[in-house]
Amino acid sequence: MTSTTPRLDRHALPARFERLSAAAFTAWALALAFFVWSLQGTGASLTDFVEGFPQMGRLVGEMLPPSTARLEAVGRALLETFQMALVGTVVGVLLSVPIAVLATPHLSPHPLAYHAARSLIAFFRTVPDLVWALLFVVSVGLGPFAGTLAIVVDKLGFCGRFFAEAMEEVDRGPQEALSAMGASRGSIILCAVIPAALPSFINTSLFSLEKATRSSVILGLVGAGGIGIELKVAMDLFGYDEAATIILAIFALVLVVERASVLIRRRVL
């Protein structure tokens, strides 16, 4: 059996790639040049990297075997770290919901409220949690409370943004239906918007808890409670075997929280 393939007009076949305009070519060249310049700015050196391997090997050698001398203290610090993450996340998530409602264009009662909420979220989000921890250490003193407050503010920025986006994206049909039957704005938000956005809320909240668990370790480095301060002291005193114990404990905690959040996601969503 023979088949005849229709002969294509050669001019009809489009080019594989669009030809770059002079402006686009210049923009790409500038971007590449900026990246190379940034690479130099970081002092990146392959020689230093390779020569650092034996040093890393020595450090690992000193870490093994991990010390069990202060297991109880490490356990307490680890528990405190998780408590900071949990309380900071829950309070932050709860406070995020009303701010996110104000930051959702079609739910906000007034354009001024919308812009104020958006600005507040952007401010909370752009200032790193370590900076918030430093500020709270100065204002409420050293300890886990300062770290918890830092996590709350960080979650306001993180969850506020994602909750607002989730509420913006939900199907407007049920909202229109409740509006057509005379429901108030508050009832529409509570009965139609939040239930529809709930899977996204839960997902974001669990991810926040994972993120807070990791960041609450770092917050300890500036005296805001948790296991971070234990790690810093161990490293400063060259107690690398004890540092190894702390790092393994942090690893186990983060792993447990991540697995638990995966299980909760599967069950709830």
Partner: protein
Amino acid sequence: MYRPESGPTGLLPHGALPDAARQPPPARDDDVGDLVVRGITKAFTPGSPVLQDVSFAIPAGQSVALIGSNGAGKSTLLRCCMNLIEPDSGSVYLFGQPLQAQSTASLRHLRSQVGFVFQKHNLVPRLSALTNVLQGALARAPFGHAWFQGTAPRALREEAMHCLERVGLADKARHRADQLSGGQSQRVAVARALMQRPRFLVADEPAASLDPISGEEVMSLFSSLVQSEGLTLLFTSHDLEHAVRYAHRVIALNRGRIVKDVLSAQTQATELRTLYDVHHAAP
């Protein structure tokens, strides 16, 4: 006003308007109509009006079918009638009250008396059928009572169950709305409208997403409510047989204008079909 305890308890197998009922209820001199639409015009993009100078009135207890091809402006007109979309010009009077002049609270009060059944049902997907129906009472129930079935008082929950029974879905009360079939979710949407205890029912293509049997059942239910409860009904449909059989009166829209307004007893589906031919033949 609709009272659940006073009505029939099931779907009517043959709910088309009987011959005696196909004549609309007589209009009284003092009756301005449950819905009066005067000179409505609406354009979403300048120069392309969706509705052009649309005027009509629906007296209490009358059933009206709104027909027209896709894009004729039927759904926009229904939304303008509830002020869900604000018309560019013209006015709408609901139960004698001008909608555009209402405060937020009084507009909500007027809307609460109209059960609106949407083409896409518009149920809240993650909530149970019972909670969706219960929310039909949001405008009249005390604060928080109709949010969720877990927070609702017993009387409201029983009334919501009764509404579900009326549409034959009492056994699906605990099912999530997004787990129901198209026909079931349409009937839950009807039950939610009944929960409002409406004086007026508005339905946007209520049978469009249903199989023929389910479509007949939903239209029969509407028809029985018109006959037994004296509700006013305005529905859109592409099914001209439904329009003629279940409405006292048929209004046809073409390119945003009313091109026919006729009593259903004085027309036939084949005659109405010609209106579509005109639309499709037009450039």
